[in-house]
Symmetry: C2
Subunit: 512 residues, 2 copies
């Protein structure tokens, strides 16, 4: 039976069969022999997600004295969910759309021109690698939003992926973990797996200790997608001196370490903690602001201007967050839970990281509040009404819909009998919920809606003309600004024209 993998833009790719796989093994092997003769180092990337794909292109693009130093093979699974990434990359395209114009260019350049990058699905490629970079997902399974006590970390698949590496890898290859893992995973989970594989393969661990390192990325899809890998400080660590030195050398090639120096920590546990602590801090600061959002609305002050007034304190308060609609993306909704999981299952602690847990709980459920404002604005009559949600991605001007907070709002509206329409100028499908259709035509989306909810500050929404809103919506429609997308004077303008206007964090809309 032939099966297919569909890309988000609905392009169809045939998943390779056994015969194609046999041919691919031979092809990759020959290609690598050729590259090695040319003195190229082979880098294999495990996982072609938001990090792995672009990381692969970046490594492939690296030149030392005008000569490409690395030949990069990106590996993902020949599955319905993943094969399209391999096919897309091999055509010279980025699997992810982003505002950063460098993204498409770097894929074209490395795949088609330099020919230093290709994608494949065969595990045999690991055996060719001088360096293996792990960029696969390690997910947290949340059954019910906000019920973070019932979450589990899907470590089983991750372990299997490590076994695959251990089976195939060259005994002198460096394995560099970039995946965000529960602290302790490198030394307590990955290292034992690789060592077991070496023992099975009769490799003497004394002569060939596992060369294992950890270094976390700070990728941010969007306008500066490439620079968020290349021009940002890197923290790294390794299980031994040799692995540490190899990692340092490699990162110095790839990252602009002149302007963004490397930061060496003394063991993998320390850099694993750093990644999680960094994101937990962010998650807590967002959740903290949520409580003040409710307070500000209840007592009639505009929290945005208050936060602005506090942010002038540089160095202590300038990173304060604003009220918002919710938290999405791959990292913040799960990373704080990885620490709690490690604390419980790897280190058998009984104490909890309560702030981190509470933050995820609050952030997960935050979109309910925008729904509450909607209901208030509609005077609790929602049945059968067209409700337009402007935004499916969680972040300004990107197409990334992983853990989109829009989903919770969408479901709230459905559950109360409303008819939600979701619009986004970038995203074409909802990562976690294929049943939610995303419209791309803003006029159709707004036409005759009883309410419109702004949930992300895409440029198209910030620049939306007031005239268009007034013309499209029904009279006295409800307008909810969930993310400070419209300025206060716009909101006041709409209010004066009879619309029911509400804003998250805006207990008070100034009269201009």
């Amino acid at each position: 039976m032939t099966t297919y993998s569909f890309s988000p833009d609905q392009k169809m790719y045939q998943i390779p069969n056994r015969n194609a796989t046999k041919k691919e093994i031979i092809k990759i092997n020959m290609l690598c022999e050729k590259q090695k003769k040319r003195d190229k180092k082979i880098v294999v990337i495990q996982g072609l997600g938001f990090v792995g794909a672009v990381m692969g292109a970046l490594v492939a693009d690296c030149e030392i004295e005008n000569k490409s130093k690395y030949f990069v093979i990106g590996i993902d699974l020949p599955s319905q969910d993943s094969f399209w990434k391999i096919a897309t990359i091999n055509k010279g395209n980025s699997p992810y759309k982003a505002k950063d114009p460098e993204v498409e260019k770097i894929f074209k350049r490395t795949i088609l021109n330099k020919k230093t990058f290709l994608a494949t699905w065969i595990s045999e490629a690991y055996s060719e690698a001088d360096i293996i970079i792990v960029d696969i997902n390690l997910d947290v399974d949340k059954t019910i939003p906000g019920k973070v006590e019932e979450t589990d970390v899907s470590i089983a698949n991750f372990k299997k992926a490590m076994v695959t590496i251990g089976k195939y890898m060259n005994k002198e290859a460096l394995v560099l973990i970039e995946t965000t893992v529960p602290p302790g995973t490198v030394e307590n989970v990955i290292k034992p797996i690789l060592e077991k594989c070496f023992r099975v393969r009769n490799i003497d661990l004394k002569k060939n200790p596992i060369l294992l390192a950890h270094s976390y990325e700070r990728v941010m899809p969007g306008e500066n997608y490439i620079d968020s890998i290349k021009k940002i400080n890197r923290t790294f660590s390794a299980v031994n001196k040799k692995a540490l030195n190899k990692t340092r050398e490699f990162l110095n090639d790839i990252i602009d370490t002149k302007n963004h120096p490397l930061w060496e920590l003394d063991k993998p546990l320390a850099s694993e903690i750093a990644k999680i602590l960094e994101n937990s801090y962010r998650a807590v600061n967002i959740a903290f602001m949520y409580e003040w959002t409710l307070f500000a609305e209840d007592i009639g002050v505009n929290l945005f201007e208050i936060v602005d007034s506090i942010k002038v304190r540089k160095g202590t308060h300038d990173n304060m967050r604003y009220p918002g609609f919710g938290v999405g993306g791959y990292c913040l909704p799960k990373d704080p839970l990885l620490a709690e999981w490690a604390s419980k299952y790897i280190f058998k602690r009984k104490k909890h990281l309560n702030f981190s847990i509470d933050a995820v709980k609050i952030n997960d459920l935050m979109p309910h509040h925008t729904y509450d404002l909607l209901m208030k604005g509609l005077n609790y009559h929602i049945k059968g009404k067209k409700i337009t949600i402007l935004g499916a991605s969680y972040r300004k001007d990107v197409d990334d819909t992983r853990n989109s907070p829009t989903i919770l709002l969408y479901d709230d509206i459905i559950n109360s009998g409303g008819k939600p329409k979701v619009h986004d100028p970038y995203a074409i499908s909802m990562f976690d919920r294929k049943d939610i259709r995303i419209e791309s035509d803003i006029d159709l989306s707004l036409a005759n809606a009883s309410a419109v909810i702004f949930v992300v500050d895409h440029a198209e929404y910030v620049n939306l003309s007031m005239k268009k809103i007034i013309k499209s919506l029904i009279a006295k429609a409800c307008i909810v600004d969930g993310f400070n997308v419209l300025s206060d004077d716009k909101l006041y303008y709409l209010k004066k024209r009879g619309f029911s206007v509400l804003g998250v964090g805006k207990g008070h809309i100034k009269n201009f």
Copy 2:
């Protein structure tokens, strides 16, 4: 009966009797008439605490075109607790010791040379004021540390002080509230009190609406005590346009607004919230780090180097806090509770500001953890042993012992049968606990101690020689670094010499 007021350095001042008060009234009245003839504006400061005293000196020091613009009268109570401040100031000295050399100079200059500043205890002075600045305390009564649910805000005394102003003030005077108050206090508590006083005095509130404003300081006693008022952004607000304009003009005179522009918010509730939110944010970020401190110690990593590695992310993470001993001072232990109190009693809300409440709980009890480390280091044998605590003030190189976290540790040691000695090079008495003696001789304090605990990073402690520690303490004594006062290499050095060395946040002390 003659009663006396004692300053922290045990100087004795006779509290004025009725006769002295009568004379003082006449003196102040004559003085003010003279100043008014010279076109001076009279500013009366209510409360000569850490803010009011220095604020008074700053206003008195203000010159416009080389001429003093303001004549300042500082008022405090003729009580045992407070009269010494009045007497100290009138001698040309600051009531508070600080490392900032400008502090003593500005008191000398304004009191003795310019003669633009004096302190008194008579309420009649309010009637002379063009501007009344409220800098009295508004305390939170905590019965048991960590039991923040049982706290109450002592608003009664604050209300009485407002009545005094309302009784005496000129109907055109500006009342500027600098005291940190529960949000809503200016419009829901102070304004009604002043209006009631005006009505009793038959003042037409339509012709003479109360001129009431709010502006919060960001004073930090220490090296930059003066600049922490003068060279820092100010947020302000007022109940009407006239009060707003008067406040703006006044603040422009006093504060370096060219480099630190004023920030105007549209109502007192907004700026009251800003102050509390600013400090709650800080308190939460400290408490958040506490949970990670325990985690780091349990799993054997050094949280300081991890936080350093994260802080390179400028703008989002560079204000992350380090693990520490505890939280003291006037603001952080109480301000977050003022918001919760206002939410409950002024705005009758049922929702809570849980992050803020939890933060105060955690921060209040944090010194218990340093005690736990001490016990571990002593192998749980503490009875009868001399335990030296280095630090009584809560902050580097200041003498401020308000809400000092040292108290909790001191009591823990007493309760388990140890013999605590508290040393501090700056503080001479413990603000909230006169029974705790503070030693100033470091040699005597350290001699033959079974343990030493560093709780604040005073320069004297940071520079303490390892030889002195080794010579003073008994063999194999316990050394606990509660505040990252000693570097890791020093700690390792002491460990190698047989001492039992532990550090808050230091699950791992590097081998240099």
